[in-house]
Assembly symmetry: C2
C-alpha cells in the first residue's frame, strides 16, 4: 500500500513536471508566432488544450509563468550559442557557425529573444537576467577569440575584450534591423555581418592592402 | 477697420503657431526626461502651463500631437546628423564629430530617438517615418564616405554602401546598450565605437600589420 502511494506520488510528480514543461513550451511558441504581447493566459491555455484555471494549478500567476518562460528562452539561447562557438574549426569556420546561429536559428526567434531587453526595460529583475545573459555571451565570444589567438589565427595585438564588445554591438544592431524590417534579406545581412566581424577581427579577406595604398 | 482685422488675424495666427511650438517642445522635453510612456496630455499641459482642453484647441487628439512630436524628433535628429557629417575635415575628424553627435548630443536623447522604432513597432505609419529617417541617415553616411574616398582617404576597393550599413548597425547596437544599461561609461563606448568604425573603414591605426603577421 505504501509502495503504491510512493509510486503514484512519483507518477503524479512526473506528470506535473511534464505538464509544466508543455505549458512553458506552448508559451514560448505563442511568443515566437505572435510576439510577447500576445502571450496571454488565454492563448497559452488554448495552445496546450487546457483551461485557464488548470494553468493556475501549475503557475501561481501570469508573472510566475512569464518568469519561467524568460529563463527558458535565455537558457535555450545560451545553449545554442555555446554549441555554435565550441564546434571544431578555425576562426573563419566559427564565424560561419555563429552566422548560422544568428541568421537561421535566432532570426526565427528574433521577436522573442531580441525583444527581451526592450520588453522588460522597466522590470529590474528581468533586466538583471538579460544583462547576465549578455555578459555570459560576451564571455563566450572572448574565450572563443582567445583560443583562436592562441592558435595563431588572430593578430597578437588584437584586443579580445574590445573586439568581443564590438561584435556583440554589431550583432545587436543587425538583430534590431531584423525585428524592425521584415522585408530584410537575411542572406545579404548574413554576408554583411560576416564582413563586419572579419574587419573587427582584422582578418578581412579584402584585396591585398599593400597594392592599393 | 479691415486692416486692423487682418493684422489681428495675423497676430492671432502667429500666437497660435508660437503656442503649438511651445507644446511640441514641452512634449519632447517630457519624453526626454521620463520616456515616451510618460508623455501624457496631463504631463504636457503641466509643462506648458495650460489646461488639457487648451491643448485640444491646438491638436485634434493625442495621436495628432504624438505624430508631430515624432516628426520633430526625427527632423532634429537628421539636422544634427547633417551638421556633424558636413563639417570640414578629413575622415578621422568626421568620425570624431559623428562620435560627439552620438555620445554627447544623442546620448541625452537616447530614450526618445533610439526607442522610436521600438515604441512604434506596431504602428505602420510611424514605422514608415522611422524607416525613411534610417534610409536618409544611411544615404548621408554613404555620401560622406564617397567624398572621403574621392579625397583619397579611403581605400579604392572599400564598399561604401556595405560599410555605411555596418557603421549604422554598430551604432544602433551601441545605442541599444546605452538605453539598456544606464551604468555604461560613455567615454569608453565612444572610444570603442571609433575603433569599430575605423576597422569597418579599413583605416584602423592599430600597430603596423606587417611586423606581426
Amino acid at each position: 500500500m505504501i509502495i503504491r502511494e510512493i509510486v503514484m506520488a512519483r507518477v503524479n510528480q512526473e506528470y506535473r513536471e511534464g505538464a509544466r514543461e508543455r505549458i512553458i513550451i506552448a508559451a514560448i511558441n505563442v511568443a515566437i508566432e505572435k510576439g510577447w504581447e500576445a502571450m496571454t493566459l488565454e492563448a497559452i491555455a488554448q495552445k496546450v488544450g487546457v483551461s485557464i484555471p488548470a494553468l493556475y494549478s501549475y503557475f501561481r500567476n501570469r508573472d510566475a509563468l512569464e518568469n519561467e518562460v524568460v529563463n527558458r528562452v535565455i537558457q535555450i539561447h545560451l545553449d545554442e550559442f555555446i554549441a555554435a562557438l565550441s564546434r571544431d574549426g578555425d576562426i573563419h569556420r566559427i564565424i560561419q557557425n555563429y552566422a548560422d546561429l544568428i541568421f537561421i536559428h535566432q532570426a526565427r526567434h528574433v521577436n522573442i529573444y531580441s525583444l527581451l531587453p526592450i520588453r522588460f526595460l522597466n522590470d529590474p529583475m528581468m533586466h538583471g537576467k538579460v544583462a547576465d545573459s549578455m555578459t555570459a555571451e560576451l564571455d563566450l565570444i572572448s574565450n572563443c577569440l582567445t583560443r583562436a589567438k592562441s592558435r595563431g589565427e588572430l593578430k597578437k595585438y588584437l584586443d579580445v575584450e574590445e573586439s568581443a564588445q564590438l561584435i556583440s554591438s554589431l550583432t545587436a544592431g543587425i538583430m534590431l534591423k531584423l525585428i524592425f524590417d521584415s522585408q530584410i534579406n537575411e542572406r545579404i545581412e548574413r554576408k554583411r555581418w560576416i564582413m563586419g566581424v572579419e574587419r573587427i577581427l582584422l582578418i578581412s579577406r579584402d584585396p591585398d592592402r599593400a597594392d592599393v595604398q
